[in-house]
Symmetry: C2
Subunit: 142 residues, 2 copies
């Protein structure tokens, strides 16, 4: 039985071809993917936008994925590899290609109550800039 099927079964979700494929795509990716990126990777006929949306909602609800917002008004989804639903590393977002990279090597301070009475439930750090590939292309363009 594939890893993807395992994940779905353990979460109590049905193993439809579509959901298995979405999980597999997330398994293969080392960085969080937007709905559009996921849809683009789906085989041939693909799935309806809404179906992908609802699948991801379902995954969120049972806690097998988390989602991050990195300053460009797009949700991106990743499997909860860390065990916790909190992601404790910063994300780098390229302003040119829009791709997100997990900076798992970088340590961050975490906050639970940065100011008296302010209870933190979610913490996110993103760095926007330009990735090596896009930087190189710009150099060539000159």
């Amino acid at each position: 039985m594939s890893h993807a099927v395992n994940i779905l079964k353990k979460a109590g979700l049905r193993c439809t071809p579509g959901r298995v494929e979405i999980i597999s795509i997330l398994l293969d990716s080392e960085h969080p993917l937007s709905q559009e990126e996921i849809t683009a990777e789906l085989s041939k006929n693909g799935l309806d936008r809404v179906t992908v949306y609802r699948a991801l909602e379902a995954f969120l609800k049972v806690g097998i994925v988390h989602r991050v917002e990195t300053g460009d008004r797009l949700w991106r989804y990743a499997l909860c590899a860390c065990g916790s639903r909190k992601h404790c590393h910063p994300h780098f977002v390229c302003r040119e290609c829009g791709r997100v990279e997990c900076l798992t090597g970088v340590k961050l301070p975490t906050f639970t109550e940065p100011k008296p009475g302010y209870k933190v439930e979610e913490q996110e750090t993103y760095l926007r800039g330009i990735c090596p590939e896009c930087a190189e292309q710009q150099m060539e363009g000159i």
Copy 2:
């Protein structure tokens, strides 16, 4: 001459009543404001939504404001008080009332090249959770 007028003149922008008022509102606020929050503070007749939008775009372009995205898919704008266009403190966002608070007292590590070749232009840390006021209201509701 008012501070707001000064800012506009120095930036090479025209001092229309609308833009002066937007700058004044931003000057009076200690936290970043969304377009809706700005529009709500405008006197009587106010300005068209699009006019506010284009004014903020213009301010961004000349670098007198910066904008932050704090996980709720809304841009919020603040004057570049720090001198640099980078804001180096985290923002707290209440998931109930949606208001943003600058945690200027909290120090963060800043990154310029977290990974070889990845050049950072913008850094943002936000903490989502519940603010003291909303937490209290929820207690009362029980």
